[in-house]
């Protein structure tokens, strides 16, 4: 897949995951890996890092009962707005591609 296209799609998927519930980094990486087995795990980390830098996510620390201190990511209002825009762009592209006759 083209790098630019992949980047946009992965960003959208990651933000969508976060909009459903807060997650910690490792969990998110493992989950995304199931859907995109050919993408390297650390690529998700790099995207997550960039999303945080753009202030689309917040970070807070939580502890599990038996585990280490975990860094949780939470989607911000800016993030939600960005996600909504990304989804609508995606829908537009999808409908254009469909109308061209590509199933």
């Amino acid at each position: 897949m083209d790098a630019q296209m992949k980047k946009g799609i992965l960003e959208m998927c990651l933000l969508h995951e976060l909009s459903e519930s807060d997650r910690y980094g490792y969990e998110l990486m493992q989950k995304m890996k199931q859907y995109f087995p050919e993408v390297n795990e650390s690529s998700f980390y790099v995207i997550l890092r960039r999303l945080h830098k753009e202030k689309y996510t917040d970070i807070y620390y939580g502890t599990s009962s038996d585990g280490p201190r975990r860094k949780y990511y939470h989607i911000t209002e800016e993030g939600k707005a960005y996600l909504a825009k990304a989804v609508s762009d995606w829908r537009t592209i999808k409908s254009i591609v469909r109308s061209l006759g590509i199933p």
């Binding site: 390297n40 690529s43 980390y45 585990g67 280490p68």
Partner: protein, 274 residues
Amino acid sequence: MNTKKTFLMRLKFFMSCRFRLREIRDTLDDFNGFFEEGIREGKTEGELCLSFGSPWEIVRQMSAGKRRISLHMLLALLAAAVCGACLWRMAASPYTLQAPSFFFCIPVLAAGAALLFADGGILFQMEPPETFSFLRPALWRLASLVLAGSLLLFCQKGPQWIAASAEPSAAGPLAGGACHLFAACGAALALYSAYAFFHGHPASFGLALLGMGVLCSSYAMQDFLHRLDALASSPSYPLFPCVLGIFLSLLCNGALLAFTGKNLTVLRHTKRRG
């Protein structure tokens, strides 16, 4: 050799030129956490390294969209270049610094090359071959050994050089004190280089190198004092190049200090976490 330790070390190495300390710390903390989680799930360090991919690739992706040459690298390369030039000038000066002083240039130039290697890999989008990751600590050890050797030579020869270069009028208590100070500094730094040898890490080597830079600029200062004396006796002596030389060497030592100081903090941080 795919262990958590080497993975984090390589990650830090490639990040050290391009990112701020806070960013490096955060990233190292994050990956440390991922390793902990993975190990709790029963995976081995080797498997985890494989799934995270190469540290070089991670840093390359992270630095996408950044300026291509980091300011840090420019400063450090300038430092290495001017230190080398300063040493060369000393070697060519009339104050009887002989050919062995070329020997001092080797570690300084090695540091410049190492920086080019760390940052240039990202800059030129070329991943250093995997074999270099085995060689690298060995390279640092070799460089620190050369540094230790040249410093020992320096503390043996340096006082003689100063004594020989002193004008009869200046060869008073000042020159004598400077000689002892030089010898002591050189010996301490040689010891530190030996420590760097066991560590095999760029940060510790960098610090020893920094010490040598300071020693050189104090030599330049000494040289300056002599020139002032000479100026008093014959007004045609070139003062300006000498002052410029001292200024540049102090500036570059500052840059080297910033670079090594930062690396050292990162090094301490990882040691505590690891």
